[in-house]
């Protein structure tokens, strides 16, 4: 293919990425947008296959076939509740690809590549390898293969500093000499660094890590674009870099923390913190029948889903309950906290899977004033996002904006125990006079409530 035509087609691909992302601004156009971006990617791939002097098509084709099959299979099979893990895995693969490309470029680079090429190669290996191993640890934590608790290694600081020192030295040597052996040293130390730096981060902070790594891998792609003079890479990399940074920022802001705090403070743990039993305060335990009656005779209900809904896969049961209530002319809406669950927009996807129309889903600012005029706030597997301690000083979540569920006339909480959520702190909401606790797995509990309402 003539290189000018190729250049314009790459530009077209980049434009399709932009238009695709623009369409993500509304659920109505988002599907078309994602497809446009995919078409852009297809164009970029085909142009590359035709444009470059490919000598060994079979390696490329084999890679595409194998990778495509695995990717398609994973995409079809994954449970919606496992979305954070899947994105972590994909992100790691992307990072690995960048790192391997850079090493391969170095090997076949021939005599004396210019210094700026070497610098970018070093950068790609560094970022790509950290992304690969860091994302894999994130995957493990989210999939419960590794404990979600922060795993601080003995001598953590020393290990980190040594690994970082080796990596930086190796990167500098790659830049200066271009010798392949340093690239392997860099690869090894960066992989190790990705592992040791991710283990001490709590499981629920993994989405921040993934998003941050995704942003980095966008920047690495852009850096590669500088080397091989590819505007498609530069533009796509800049878009991804921006998107990752914005998402990271949304998450840390919604948790009222900083990125540094997330990455370096060994915060939280799935099962950490108080268990709420050794309290003088008492929580009021309710049966599924009690809950059924309260809900069935309410006029306005707001459902607050949280991470427990995802764990229990209770989205369909929640939808069934809401349908039943709506048939009885109870108004049902959903309040979605920006960091409910384990990734931004997590609850929206789960509820969409259960066919809950997205116009029944409300953002924090939009629904908070309404809790005061609401009969029942039904909290399903959420904890931190409704913890009133956030309004007080000196707690782990102080200053984090929360859903004002405690303002509702009656609060019903469906969870298995009084134990704490991700932030590892007790929740006074459970002990309020107007709170009823339904101790159950979310799915089982909601199913029981549905049967009880049917029998009313």
């Amino acid at each position: 293919m003539n290189p000018t035509a190729a250049g314009f087609l790459y530009l077209l691909a980049a434009v399709l990425f932009i238009v695709g992302l623009k369409r993500l601004s509304s659920p109505v156009t988002a599907k078309a947008g994602n497809r446009l971006a995919a078409i852009g990617m297809l164009i970029a791939i085909v142009v590359t296959l035709l444009d470059e002097q490919i000598v060994s098509y079979w390696i490329v084709i084999a890679g595409i076939v194998v990778g495509g099959a695995i990717g398609a299979l994973l995409a079809q099979r994954v449970e919606m509740t496992s979305m954070p893990q899947l994105v972590a895995a994909f992100n790691g693969f992307g990072g690995g690809a960048s790192a391997f490309v850079a090493i391969a470029e170095l090997i076949r680079g021939g005599a004396d590549p210019p210094i700026r090429i070497l610098v970018t190669i070093a950068l790609s290996v560094l970022i790509g390898s950290i992304t690969l191993s860091g994302s894999m640890i994130a995957f493990g934590k989210l999939q419960d293969l590794i404990t979600g608790r922060p795993l601080v290694l003995p001598g953590q600081l020393v290990i980190d500093v040594v690994l970082a020192g080796v990596a930086v030295t190796a990167a500098v040597r790659v830049g200066a000499t271009g010798e392949t052996v340093y690239a392997w040293v860099l690869f090894g130390s960066a992989i190790a660094l990705g592992i040791t730096r991710t283990l001490p981060i709590g499981g629920a902070d993994m989405p921040v890590v993934i998003s941050f790594l995704n942003s980095l891998s966008g920047l690495a792609a852009a850096a590669t674009g500088f080397v091989i003079d590819s505007n498609a890479l530069i533009i796509a990399g800049a878009l991804v870099g921006a998107s990752g940074l914005i998402l990271t920022n949304i998450m840390v802001k919604a948790m009222n923390r900083t990125l540094a705090n997330v990455l370096f403070s060994a915060f939280g743990g799935e099962t950490g913190g108080g268990d709420g039993t050794d309290h003088d305060k008492v929580a009021r335990r309710a049966s599924a029948e009690d809950v059924a009656i309260t809900l069935a005779y309410a006029q306005r209900v707001i459902v607050v889903p949280g991470y427990g809904l995802a764990v229990a896969q209770a989205q369909h049961a929640a939808r069934e309950l809401a349908d039943l209530l709506q048939e009885r002319n109870v108004e049902v809406r959903y309040a979605i906290h920006p960091v409910a669950g384990r990734m931004p927009g997590h609850m929206n996807v789960l509820l969409a899977e259960a066919d809950v129309p997205y116009d029944q889903l409300y953002d924090l600012e939009d629904i908070n004033p309404d809790f005061a005029h609401t009969d029942v706030a039904l909290i399903i597997g959420a904890n931190d996002v409704v913890n009133p301690l956030a309004r007080e000083a000196d707690t782990a979540i102080s200053g984090m904006p929360i859903l004002d569920a405690d303002k509702a006339t009656t609060v019903i909480v469906v969870k298995r125990s009084l134990s704490s959520g991700f932030a590892g702190i007790d929740n006074p909401l459970f002990y309020l006079d107007n709170t009823l606790m339904l101790f159950a797995d979310a799915k089982q509990g909601l199913t029981d409530v549905v049967s009880a309402i049917r029998e009313l």
Partner: protein, 94 residues
């Protein structure tokens, strides 16, 4: 430096576009945004194809194959799973 002027210009403009466009994505769609932009970051598949296609064997070819495979998983899986999610989003007036 002078050869960097053009790529830096392109990068700066694309970053502005990115920030403007992404900040308009509503919270509802943040998970698809995350997986979709992750798929776009798989653009490094271009580099992988070049690396794999220029070799007939040896370590570089093996690395190239590995890179193409991983990048394709990222791209294909990312776009497909985003599509799967987005197909689930429905409006109320059914």
């Amino acid at each position: 430096m002078s050869e960097l002027l053009i790529p830096i210009t392109v990068f700066v403009l694309a970053a502005f576009v990115g920030f403007e466009v992404i900040t308009k994505v509503p919270p509802t769609l943040h998970t698809p945004l995350m997986s979709g932009s992750n798929a776009i970051s798989g653009i490094s598949i271009i580099g992988a194809i070049v690396a794999a296609g220029h070799e007939n064997g040896g370590v570089a070819a093996a690395l190239g194959f590995l890179a193409v495979t991983l990048a394709t998983i990222n791209v294909v899986g990312g776009f497909l799973v985003t599509d799967r999610m987005l197909r689930m989003f429905k409006r109320g007036d059914r």
